[in-house]
């Protein structure tokens, strides 16, 4: 093996080592998406309606940040991806709960109106609807 061959092998090895490292880049995009999803969920008041999912999402995003600092980018990506869907589920749960509340309010309204109408129609005797 001559010098140039050795150098070539070394370069190949280096490139492979670098490549091994470069095959798991820092999950910047996934982190950003998770962060955005969490903020959207917070705006939807998910902390109130889906506290468990929200806590899970926050914990995982925080863990992802720690993993990134420790250059465990694979773990960081997985945590970020999970945190994003946890947050999205929390947001959807909050939205569904709010819609259910609104619907229940309308149902109660109707009941109250019926009671009121009943009373009103009984106010003048002999005059029912």
């Amino acid at each position: 093996m001559d010098c140039s061959t050795t150098r070539f092998v070394l370069i190949l090895l280096l490139a492979a080592g670098l490549g091994a490292c470069a095959s798991v880049p820092p999950p910047e995009s996934q982190m950003g998406k998770a962060d955005l999803a969490l903020r959207k969920a917070e705006q939807a008041d998910a902390a109130h309606f889906a506290p468990l999912e929200m806590r899970t999402a926050r914990t995982k995003l925080e863990a992802a940040r720690v993993a990134m600092r420790e250059e465990d980018n694979l773990e960081a990506r997985r945590l970020a991806e999970q945190a994003k869907l946890d947050a999205t589920l929390a947001e959807a749960t909050a939205q569904a709960a709010q819609r259910q509340e609104a619907t229940d309010t309308i149902r109660a309204d109707i009941e109250a109106l019926r009671v009121e109408a009943e009373r009103a129609s009984n106010r003048i005797p002999g005059e029912t609807q």
Binding site: Q82, Q95, T103, I106
Partner: protein
């Protein structure tokens, strides 16, 4: 294929068979389906169990999201239906309120109509009462006027109110001494009496002849009778119905003054006309021929 991916695939397939999820969360369902396909492909490519477990977690989360979105959409659908129902109930209530208000208004209008009718009735009655009052006043005035006129006419006849009625005393100027024929000048006051009797046809009269105590009683009775007869004859000749005037001679029975003096005797020689009240009959009011 790791169990986690098998379970995730089953989860996605179950969601795909749920008509509500298909209808209400199609985007999320598609994303879950895409995710399981990629996870399966990745597994065949790399056989990385850790990555497969991670991908399975993500797929199951996506199915959960699809289901929760479905629940929320259903709640919203129900809310819309209930909102429409609420509108219908409100409309019903407003209609009923309007009906009640209308019925109250109609009742008030009816009351107002009744009040107006009552007021109209009261006005009519008041008008009638006023008319009647005016009529009564007019009648009272007419009565007062006729009463006044009567009084005037009686005053003209020089009549006096006595307890026997209205008495008109004609002195001895009517006749000459011992005569029963009316003097020519006597007819003037008798003509006034005739006019009076014609004007008041409901009145009858007693015609009484009186003398002083000179001469015999029989003679005086006869003379006074003849003189009273002369007066009645004058009245009937002038159109007074005979039954309205009865002549009676009382002689010296009812003197009005003493017969001792010439003045007294002159007062006793007289004819008295008693004008009876309306409705009184002359035949029932005669004085007895002799005093009790």
């Amino acid at each position: 294929m790791p169990q986690a991916l098998v379970d995730a695939r089953a989860d996605v397939d179950a969601a795909r068979n749920d008509a509500d999820v298909v209808r209400l969360a199609p985007v999320q369902l598609d994303e879950a389906e895409e995710a399981i396909k990629q996870a399966e492909a990745l597994w065949y490519e790399e056989k990385d169990a850790d990555e497969a477990g991670h991908q399975a977690y993500l797929v199951i989360r996506r199915v959960e999201i699809a289901r929760v979105v479905t629940t929320g959409a259903k709640a919203m659908e129900e809310g819309r239906a209930l909102a429409r129902q609420r509108e219908a109930v409100l409309l019903e209530i407003r209609t009923a309120e309007a009906d009640r208000a209308l019925s109250v208004a109609e009742k008030r209008a009816e009351e107002a109509r009744r009040d107006r009718a009552a007021a109209e009735q009261a006005r009519t009655e008041a008008d009638q009462a006023r008319t009647e009052a005016a009529q009564a006043r007019a009648e009272a005035a007419a009565l007062a006027e006729s009463e006044r006129k009567l009084q005037e006419e009686l005053a003209e006849l020089q009549a006096k109110e006595t307890e026997r009625g209205i008495v008109l005393t004609l002195g001895d100027v009517l006749f000459d001494v011992d005569e029963a024929t009316l003097k020519a000048g006597a007819t003037q006051s008798l003509a006034r009496l005739v006019r009076f009797l014609k004007e008041y046809p409901d009145r009858q009269v007693l015609v009484e002849g009186h003398t002083d105590s000179t001469g015999t009683e029989e003679y005086n009775l006869g003379l006074s009778q003849r003189r009273a007869d002369s007066v009645v004859q004058f009245l009937t000749l002038n159109g007074v119905a005979p039954e309205r005037a009865i002549a009676t001679g009382y002689g010296q029975t009812y003197p009005v003054a003493g017969n001792e003096t010439a003045e007294g005797r002159q007062l006793n020689r007289r004819v008295e006309i008693v004008i009876l009240d309306p409705g009184e009959k002359a035949a029932e009011e005669l004085r007895p021929l002799l005093p009790q």
